[in-house]
């Protein structure tokens, strides 16, 4: 299970109403169904990271509630694991130990943790690299480790903050295909944050477009295209144009 509901969420940094207070998100509501891949799209500063931080439990909403499977979210935990743009792998641990970290924190016995980790390492295509350290891997490989590490704990919701933004464009597009492959093999509720229109269309079941600051719900656009998605498909191109216009509009207002 893993449905996410965000209802009436407002986030103000600083004291609301006081000078210097920044309203990052305003009265935002949406739902993500179980095993749905949902992308939050919006341009820089519209509060995407803020939203992710609140879902993860690093910050509290000023108003409104965020719930997973009907239960309001508490402090961070494995039910809402997260992937970071800069990988955030533990440099002192090998690939295997990085992936085993979550199961170990869940107090799984070592053998079981290792079995789970090796399974995920194979799934993300890193079999043979178990004993490497992160600094010995390329950016794409590191992000695979990060994906394995976030998946191995069986989160209800997988959170990703611009996971491929640090990669070169070829690796990025390859990793997007890989993510789709892995997600179909291991369906998960995913909330991914990005400002790349292509990434949003390529990956998601549904795209949630945020307005510029303060972030409000601007549109929800389902993507009904078979995966893997072809960039030259007319629906893909129409969708891309629609989203680009929307984002442009926001930038002019913002």
């Amino acid at each position: 299970m893993g449905s996410l509901s965000v209802s009436g969420v407002t986030k103000v940094y600083g004291v609301p109403g006081a000078p210097g207070a920044v309203t990052a998100l305003s009265n935002l509501s949406f739902e993500i169904a179980n095993h749905e891949f949902c992308t939050i799209l919006g341009h820089s500063g519209c509060g995407k990271t803020t939203l992710l931080n609140m879902v993860a439990g690093f910050e509290r909403a000023t108003e409104g509630t965020i719930a997973v499977d009907g239960t309001p979210v508490g402090p961070p935990g494995w039910e809402r694991s997260m992937m970071f743009q800069d990988y955030a792998l533990f440099p002192w641990l090998t690939v295997r130990d990085n992936v085993m970290y979550g199961p170990r924190m869940k107090r799984e016995p070592k053998d079981e943790a290792r079995r789970q980790a090796d399974e995920l390492i194979t799934l993300v295509g890193l079999a043979g690299f178990e004993k490497h350290y992160p600094h010995q891997l390329s950016g794409g490989m590191r992000q695979r480790v990060a994906l394995a590490r976030a998946l191995v704990v069986c989160p209800r919701v997988l959170l990703m903050d611009e996971p491929f933004a640090a990669l070169d464009s070829q690796t990025r597009s390859f990793m997007q295909d890989e993510l789709v492959r892995i997600w179909r093999h291991e369906p998960k509720t995913v909330m991914l944050v990005t400002h790349s229109i292509d990434e949003a269309i390529k990956l998601s079941d549904r795209i949630i477009v945020l307005s510029s600051r303060p972030g409000r719900l601007k549109a929800q656009i389902p993507v009904d295209l078979p995966r893997p998605r072809d960039e030259d498909h007319p629906v893909y191109r129409a969708l891309k144009k629609q989203l680009r216009d929307m984002i442009h509009e926001e930038m002019e207002e913002g």
Partner: protein, 304 residues
Amino acid sequence: MPHPLRTTTTGPRMEGVAAEVPRPAGQPVPPAVQTAPPPSPAWRRHAGSAGRHLSRYALLVVLIALWQFTSTVWLPAKDPYLAVLMPAPTSIIAATAELVANGDLFMHLFASLKRELSAFVLSLAAIPLGIAMGWWRPVYVQVNPVIEILRPIPPLAWIPLSILWFGLSDMQNQFIILLGIFFPILVNTVTAVRTVDANLIRASRTLGASEWDVLRTVVFKAALPQIITGIRIGLGVGWMALVAAELVGATTGLGFMINDARSILRTDIIVVGMLTIGVMGLLIDLGIRWLGKRLLPWSPALAK
């Protein structure tokens, strides 16, 4: 600001500069000279690097030769008493052999090392304290003022008071060394903990780590390279403090040995002691560095 001493290094540098003289603009770049150099045999490359190593010590060799000359020829000719004050390298070697043979050198060396080691073990308390200060703001706010007042007091300034507290004992010596080792470890641990990559902590929390897990498995690990740097600095400061403490309040140890030699005018023993202190300090430093590299192969900071 050009440093006057820098000019001494321009000799070898100049070659590098000359090799890269900018070409006049417009002149075509000549094709790289393709007279392929004969593959240089391994032995030759070795000989070359050995030669370079030797030439690095040229000044040292000259100085030692000068020293030998001064002590055995020039000073005795002027005033025999002066010659005693400046023992020749050869008499230092002789004294070393004597001290090794009768066991004195190792006895004092081990006494010093033992003090350094026990003070070091005690000063490891700086690590948990430093982690607590770096992690919990209230701890930092309360403890830091105390640290900031105590830290600038040189360990040697504690000698008089510590003699009154502990008497002329091992305890007193260890206390002085402890002061030398403790603060560098503490300060480095605090900084290390405060600069741990926030995303690593966040990643571990989203993977289900409790606060204690985060401290144990992330903060401590991420801080280790800099903690080791703190230990290196601390052991160095402690080693200096140790010798000073032994000069005053001990009946064994290298510090005692050189001070004792002074009272019987054995300048050769003094110099042997000084050199042992220097070499041992260097070995401790190299040892910690080596350990750090081996234990934390992932750390770019320690790989240097």
